[in-house]
């Protein structure tokens, strides 16, 4: 029923499928990011802060 209401032809369903795929990517990467260990986050955050040496 809903398919008939909102999907007039197959190409239009791409918007919804695209949104669903993005939601999948967003949620899965979000969950993974939240589950990162504190040590790992600290180590990654520190990478740009290491200083060069000069002669």
């Amino acid at each position: 029923m809903f398919r008939r209401l909102i999907l007039e032809d197959w190409q239009r369903s791409l918007s919804i499928l695209g949104w669903a795929m993005f939601a999948f990517v967003f949620i899965s990467t979000g969950v993974r990011a939240l589950l990162l260990s504190r040590d790992e986050v600290g180590r990654m955050e520190g990478l740009p802060l290491e200083e060069d040496l000069h002669e």
Binding site: L7, D9, W10, Q11, R12, S13, L14, S15, I16, L17, G18, W19, A20, M21, F22, F24, V25, F26, T29, G30, R32, A33, L34, L35, L36, V41, R43, M44, E45, G46, L47, P48, L49, E50, D52, L53, H54, E55
Partner: protein, 798 residues
Amino acid sequence: MIQNGGNAVGNARVRIEFNDRVVRQFCLASLFWGIVGMLVGVLIATQLAFWQANAGLPWLTFGRLRPLHTNAVIFAFVGNMMFAGVYYSTQRLVKARLASNLLSAVHFWGWQLIIVAAAVTLPMGLTRGKEYAELIWPIDLAVAVVWVIFGINFFWTLQRRRERTLYVAVWFYIATIITIAVLYIVNHLQIPTSWTHAYPVFGGVQDALVQWWYGHNAVAFFLTTPMLGIMYYFVPKAAERPVYSYRLSIVHFWSIVFLYIWAGPHHLLNTALPNWLQSLGMVFSLMLWAPSWGGMLNGLLTLRGVWNRVRTEPVLQFFAAAVTFYGMATFEGPLLSIKSVNALSHYTDWTIGHVHSGALGWNGFLTAGMIYWLLPRLWKRPLHSTSAAQMHFWLGMVGILLYVAAMWVSGITQGLMLSATKDSGSVLAYPNFLDAVTSTRWLMHMRAFGGMLYLSGFVLMAWNVFKTIKGAQKNDAYIEVAALPEGQDGLTLRRGLLNPPVLYALALIVCALGWGALDGLPSGLCLWGVVASVMGAFLHKDLTGASWTDWYDKLLANALPFSVLTTIAVLIGGVAQILPTVLMSKENLMEGVAQEPYSPLQLYGRDLYVKEGCYNCHSQMIRTLAGDVLRYGPYSKAGESAYDHPFQWGSKRTGPDLARVGGKYPNIWHFHHMRDPRQTSPGSTMPNYDWLLKEKADWEVIPGRIAVQRRLGVPYPERASADILAEMRTEADGIAADLGTAGAAVQADRDIVALIAYLQRLGKTAAHQAPVTAAAEVAGAPAPSPGELGLTDEPSRP
């Protein structure tokens, strides 16, 4: 002894000396080309206020210089800065010297040669006629080669790294290198007709879709993702504190990479692009709000605790302003992608203002901040004048605000005036297009002044840089790290991809696409496939006790499989949008209107139209909007430009739309208009094109060009060259005779004759033979009703 810049230090540590020479070179090149590009920008902005500012020279006209301005700023100014930032930060983040000195040098000098070639060819009118993709095919090839060299040097360096994991900035660089390669190659597919001319393989609506898939993502993956990588490295460096949330940066990366590629069709809203693509572009553009603002907040909050330093340190001032402009521009972008807002903003200066808030504020200020930060480190000498750098900041800031404010006011004024109607929407309120031009002219002065201020800031910076580095010691930095073996990749490509999480996700996507795209039983089976993929994944995980997060963590530490996964994320959007449109037959895109091929003389005139860059000011796309239809005639259908290689729908109307200009005016009107536009259109800002009256046309090229068009599928009959040339002669003689009768003596083989032939053909398809008369438009006489013009309440496209 360690190769590649590394020397053994004692037993446990190695010394890695960085290749900072190439970073210094790219920094200086960015500054130099930035000033050149901005200077051209100020010149063409001045031309919109004073039409005489091209000094009567063909190679200084707006149509030829605007592509030079955009290419110089994007690929020369930001491009060189990007390479400097990528090379500097990557070496430090992965603890390895750039893999090859030779490749680094070839990359630098190759890129500069490309820029010089562009600076010579574009003013000559050698162009492909597609925005940000104007360079002729030999230069395109050189760009592809140099980009591949950049990619090899970069990935080779990653391969030799001594750091286990890849920091998020490196992810953004990987996405940039891969995506730009894909975009550039697809949008530059073309068949040459000579060493300086080619026709793109896509035509009409297909070319429009591919072009804006490229054009939008040139902004996304050339002006945004590498800049975000640079932000994630240099802002923490300058603030001397870690990024606010590394977790947020992970979500930021994947969301941006996955979303951006889908948003291209928002450049074609209310046009002949199929409706489903317009909806897709709008929806994904709106979704971009979330990750973009997440990234902006992550950048700004990195400065927490150091705001007191922002008051006094130019580097932090530039970075804080740049990230803020990133937020503003990425708020405005999705806003302009809403179809109803776009109806007002598209083809007006509002879009120009939006682009410049991003380019000047985000890219320009990030560049300035990065170079000011790098200077003392690369030349081992403090910045010559901090107060001059602060003056640069305020000149730039005031310049941007003046520029953007002028463009907002101008754009909204143009949009409102050109769409305004009266008498229950049946008559245009401002029937003369030039009303919108003359009423916004003062804003063009303001814009040019704002641009001049911004440029003067960079000139001041160049002086500051010169004084800082004059006589300074060039200094390559080094680090000492634990003597781990080179190369940290432990996950092979095969093990990275033939992995349960990837395979289940792939099955889910394929089945979901099949469910939506197919009908009947296959669609039902695909729906079951979706359910089975999800259930299978959970069952597999429970039965084997697998920890898939380990796989993800390994992936982030392994460049090659990570790059392939990024490629897939990026390609999904491109494939879903472009493949159905490209594979669809021309007939399905015709909308009941079939374009007939141009006559040989008209084709020559069209090539002149492209050469002079007319598309920079004139569109050929009447949108499905009442204002457009009342002003220009029935809305454009895809079939009317199906065989246009390249399409010329345009993106800005400094002058009126030309989709149905054919037959609207007599030949002599076009003659006078091209010689002196103000004679026929008082108040016009168009330059005089009097050289078209003198230049002798080179008709001999046309048989070869028609042969290429035949290969591209344009239904030209097979004919001998002599027949083609004879037809050109006959048609040109007719137009020249008509001009002579009207009092303008011109030889038939002049460029102006071919251009008039082309202009008189526009809109002359079988379905639309009765254009709106000039008198009716100018005098504001009652225009045909929307129904008569083919506009219904809800114009629908497939």
